[in-house]
């Protein structure tokens, strides 16, 4: 290893404080939510509001010959419409993150001239009621000239494939070469080389139960829009929307209170939001839109589909894997809304959990006539980590090595932390082998052979599988420059303000847009500890308002970072406030130095003399309402502190695609036991153990909840959830009948365990962890391959394995085995 990067500076982490950190403080959010008194976007109403319905394309690919809205507009109760032609005139195409050729994609709020996926919005109709808007949509006449669609990503770059976007030849959005370490050297040194022709990661999405939506109001006097919506990354939406709308950023005010799940799927709603902005301005009334479930499935962001081709893994005789080589084709659907960031984000976890030093990847992203992709819980890393875990099992099984031993041999070791990966990422802390032991213990691994025999006696094939994944959090946005060197993005930031008001009320404002992660609660825990009060005394404003001035370019809730960036900002702001209170109280209590003041029980008091105390209420009153009491030299004390947390990142090296791309790496090591019905291929997950390590757990119950949720989503994606298309580009799973998400009866009881490896790089020793790395996906695939071993050793090469796929493996295992090859040197 010749290359080095500088590890981020270590932050002092004292042993986890006592107080509220690590305590299961009940959530502040719950009281309203269990009484049905939350405020979700579809609950927002405005006088004279119009309901909007989008007319959507029935074709995967077609030219729009004509659009006639006259009949729709003539319907009683219809307020008006918006067409693609109007959009093309009134807005500019959205900024593209990709350099050319991907940068040539022209993406608008509505289809302009051509539709590129089934469900693409073509016309928006606004009417007095939901029903009327829907009726009017039926009256819009759109004439299409169908074009051949391209659906299969592996054929998208073929010379004869239909081309989606002018100036994007071969449908290739982005292509890059990643070469780390010395792959050729590794190959030469190998005793064995395993080749896998193809692995395939299916398309799915977390499908939040609340669909996307918004109520948009336009203020004609100020030219300002207020968007009550459930977009989960307003910082990004505003950057996309303001230039498109030819307006200033501050003209777009994003407001949300409760959001019914996001999982990344609510990041890329900016096209619909722009349509609503235009409509509300045109119609001079508030416009509301709530996406329907079938629309969410058809046209909201999907998780990226990815194929891994010509995979090659050099291995030594003792089972050490020296690295890998692969050609990866990522399918981003019809438009690039957040893409091609996925083309680099996987590199945060290039070697997965393993000490793979030599890596060569040819990465290509193509567009196809399917719903556009966007971040989805575990964005881009999940696909890659699934790949690393499949490689691990295939190699172990082909070389007849013990899967546990092989993992332990190749895992990065606890004593190597912080560990620098071949592409310059710094894994902050963790102990994967220990997590694995604990996970195996949870599923009673010792008894597996016995249970296998018992299952066999019932005609079932039992198998156990492992998923070892990482949840990398707190992005270094500088990685965007690795896909487009022209971009001026780097590092990351999040904001919080904390103030002490006249009556001594502590008010916290976050820049995030929580969707169930309990930010009100964990923020209150941090503030309470620093100010010496209880979380009940801390009023955290629910939701998000970009006018709160507590908002930065990267504000939002995404990419596993609140515990670091959000709470880092809360901690910073609260410490500023605490300093101010101490200074003020010291002065008022007779010139005592601030170090002599302690904050406890709602008082600022002199240490060792609790009688000499100033209540917070008095502090708040002096600064806010009784300024005569405030000594002149203390007039810069505002008791209203805003702090921006900026993680210690640097710009990566664009040439070598090298550098630290995220700050923290939470660990998920899961073990899963499946039972396959040999007759039908149907199977059940009968035991599941999840061990997670996210450093210091601020609120263990909330952390566990995230583990449960991420696991359930991974199990859904591993078993039934897939967005499958036919050759014409029709989505075959547009509803919850065909897209079967886990029901209560589908979920096995989950056993959880944890270890805490505090991050040396973060303010609280915590790591982001909400996304999980899709460990469950890998674990199920791993367990299936183990279970099926007695019937011809088939290889599991898809991420989603509905029963029919398992049956095909049972029926023709040899066919799947054509996919692998072992070369002995």
């Amino acid at each position: 290893m010749t290359e080095t990067t500088v590890a981020p500076e270590r932050t002092e982490t004292e042993a986890p404080q006592r107080g509220y950190i690590g305590v299961n403080v009940p959530r502040k959010e719950d009281k309203r939510l269990v009484q049905g008194e939350g405020l979700f976007v579809d609950d927002v109403k405005r006088h004279g509001m119009a309901y909007v319905h989008f007319v959507r394309s029935p074709y995967a690919h077609a030219r729009i010959a004509s659009v006639d809205v006259s009949k729709a507009e003539a319907l009683d109760g219809v307020y008006g419409t918006l067409t693609g032609d109007e959009v093309a005139e009134l807005t500019d195409p959205f900024f593209q993150i990709a350099p050319p050729p991907g940068g040539h994609v022209k993406d608008y709020a509505l289809a302009v001239g051509r539709v590129r996926h089934v469900g693409e919005p073509v016309v928006a109709v606004a009417a007095r009621t939901r029903e009327l808007a829907r009726d009017a949509a039926d009256l819009v006449e759109v004439e299409y000239e169908p074009l051949d669609p391209i659906v299969d990503p592996e054929r998208a770059a073929d010379p004869d494939a239909p081309q989606l976007h002018d100036d994007v030849p071969s449908n290739t959005i982005w292509n890059g070469h990643f070469d780390y370490g010395d792959y050729d050297g590794a190959l030469a040194a190998a005793d064995k080389v395993i080749r896998i022709k193809r692995l395939h990661f299916d398309r799915f999405s977390s499908t939040p139960l609340e669909t996307s939506g918004a109520v948009v109001e336009y203020n004609r006097g100020t030219g300002q829009w207020t968007l009550h919506c459930n977009n989960q990354f307003p910082g990004f939406a505003i950057i996309m929307m303001a230039p498109a709308l030819r307006t200033g950023m501050d003209k777009l005010r994003f407001v949300s209170q409760d959001v019914g799940g996001g999982f990344g799927n609510k990041i890329c709603t900016h096209p619909q939001l722009v349509a609503l902005c235009l409509l509300s301005r045109k119609l001079k009334r508030a416009c509301q839109w709530t996406e329907w479930r079938t629309e969410q499935h058809m046209a909201n962001s999907h998780g990226n589909e990815r194929v891994f081709l010509d995979v090659e893994v050099p291995v030594t005789d003792d089972g050490l894997m020296l690295g890998f080589k692969a050609r990866m084709i990522d399918d981003c659907g019809a438009y690039t809304r957040y893409e091609p960031l996925g083309c680099i984000i996987w590199a945060q976890v290039t070697p997965g959990a393993y000490r793979w030093r030599n890596v060569r990847v040819e990465f290509t992203q193509v567009c196809t006539n399917k719903s556009p992709c966007g971040p989805n819980r575990g964005y881009s890393r999940m696909q890659h980590l699934w790949f690393t875990e499949r490689v691990m099992d295939v190699v172990a099984d082909e070389l007849k090595l013990d899967r546990v031993a092989v993992r332990k041999k190749n895992y990065i070791r606890a004593d190597e932390m912080p560990y620098e990966t071949p592409n310059g990422c710094i894994y902050d802390s963790g102990d994967y082998a220990l997590c694995l032991d604990k996970a195996l213990e949870l599923v009673d691994y010792e008894s597996i052979e016995e249970r296998r025999r018992e299952a066999e006696s019932r005609g079932k094939l039992l198998g156990v599988g492992i998923g070892s994944t990482l949840d990398s959090g707190t992005n270094n946005f500088g990685q965007a420059t690795l896909v487009n060197p022209e971009l001026q993005y780097s590092v990351n930031n999040e904001v919080a303000s904390v103030k002490l008001d006249i009556f001594g009320e502590i008010v916290v404002t976050l820049g995030t847009t929580p969707q169930g992660q309990g930010h009100e609660t964990t923020a209150a825990q941090i503030v309470a500890d620093i100010l010496g009060v209880t979380p009940d005394d801390v009023n955290v404003r629910p939701g998000h308002d970009s006018y709160w001035n507590s908002h930065a370019g990267f504000s939002g809730t995404y990419a596993s970072q609140f515990a670091v960036t959000g709470l880092g900002a809360v901690k910073g702001a609260t410490e500023m406030l605490a300093d101010q209170i101490r200074t003020l109280a010291g002065a008022v209590l007779g010139g005592v130095p601030p170090e002599q003041i302690e904050l406890a029980e709602g008082f600022a008091r002199i240490k060792g003399n609790p009688e000499a105390a100033l209540p917070f209420m008095a502090c708040g009153a002096i600064v806010n309402a009784n300024n005569a009491v405030l000594p002149l030299e203390l007039r810069d004390i505002t008791l209203n502190c805003r702090y921006v947390y900026v993680p210690p990142h640097q710009l990566p090296d664009k040439e070598r695609k090298y550098g630290n791309l995220t700050l923290t790496y939470a660990t998920q090591i899961h073990a899963c036991v499946v039972e396959v019905d040999e007759e039908t291929g149907s199977y059940e997950i009968v035991d599941y153990g999840a061990v997670d390590d996210c450093g210091v757990r601020i609120n263990p119950q909330i952390v566990e909840g995230q583990v449960h949720g991420a696991t359930a989503q991974a199990l859904g994606a591993a078993t039934h959830e897939t967005f499958a298309y036919d050759e014409q580009g029709n989505l075959l799973t547009p509803n919850f009948y065909d897209y079967h998400v886990p029901h209560a009866l589908d979920m096995p009881p989950l056993k959880t365990g944890y270890i805490e490896s505090p991050s040396p790089f973060t303010p609280l020793g915590a790591k982001g962890m909400g996304e999980g790395g899709g460990a469950g996906l890998s674990a199920v695939c791993s367990a299936l391959q183990d279970a099926l071993r007695p019937v011809g050793r088939p290889i599991v090469y898809d991420s989603c394995n509905p029963y029919w796929r398992v049956w095909e493996m049972l029926r023709d295992p040899a066919k799947t085995r054509e996919n692998v090859e072992v070369e002995t040197r």
Binding site: G36, D42, P208, T211, G705, G709, A712, H743, P749
Partner: protein, 164 residues
């Protein structure tokens, strides 16, 4: 109500003990009537095909999905929505248990889930885990994996709820 076909009608219902009378179009779904006309927005919509259960209410004591009923069909009915569970500001044992056990994250499925759970406990005081799972099989939650929901219902049934 008249036998002849009508395209709208006055509907009177008792919701959470209060009487409402509204004129509605025959085509209006009960869930939209509750949310938009009566402004009781605790009852949610999570799908358009009857799968998710976010819209679950008690209609004359029976748990039903209000997105598959017309408002006009509910004429004369007694309805309980999530807003009607609490009495005198005090959370029910189930509501409290949901909070204690962290059985909700985004809270979007919670109203329907609580109604299904309430209905279960009205018919079965001491359900087994399997019975609980069966009772909420029609309520989709995308956040929690159901683990804590099942626990919360068990806790509420067995009286192990801490109250402040």
């Amino acid at each position: 109500m008249e036998t002849a076909p009508v395209d709208s009608a006055f509907v009177s219902v008792q919701v959470n003990g209060e009487s409402y009378e509204r004129e509605v179009d025959a085509r209006r779904l009960l869930v939209h009537f509750i949310r938009d006309d009566l402004d009781l927005t605790g009852t949610h919509v999570g799908c358009d095909t009857g799968n998710c259960g976010a819209c679950t209410i008690l209609l004359d004591g029976e748990a039903v999905k209000s997105c598959m009923l017309l408002a006009i069909q509910a004429d004369g009915a007694e309805i309980t929505t999530v807003e009607g569970l609490t009495h005198d500001g005090e959370l029910t044992a189930l509501q409290q248990a949901f909070s204690d056990r962290h059985a909700l994250q985004c809270g979007y499925c919670t109203p329907g889930m609580l109604i299904s759970a309430t209905y279960l406990l009205e018919h079965n005081e001491a359900p087994t885990e399997a019975e609980i799972r069966k009772a909420i099989q029609g309520n989709i939650c995308r956040c929690t994996g159901y683990v804590n929901i099942v626990e919360a219902i068990q806790a509420a049934a067995s009286g192990e709820v801490k109250r402040d």
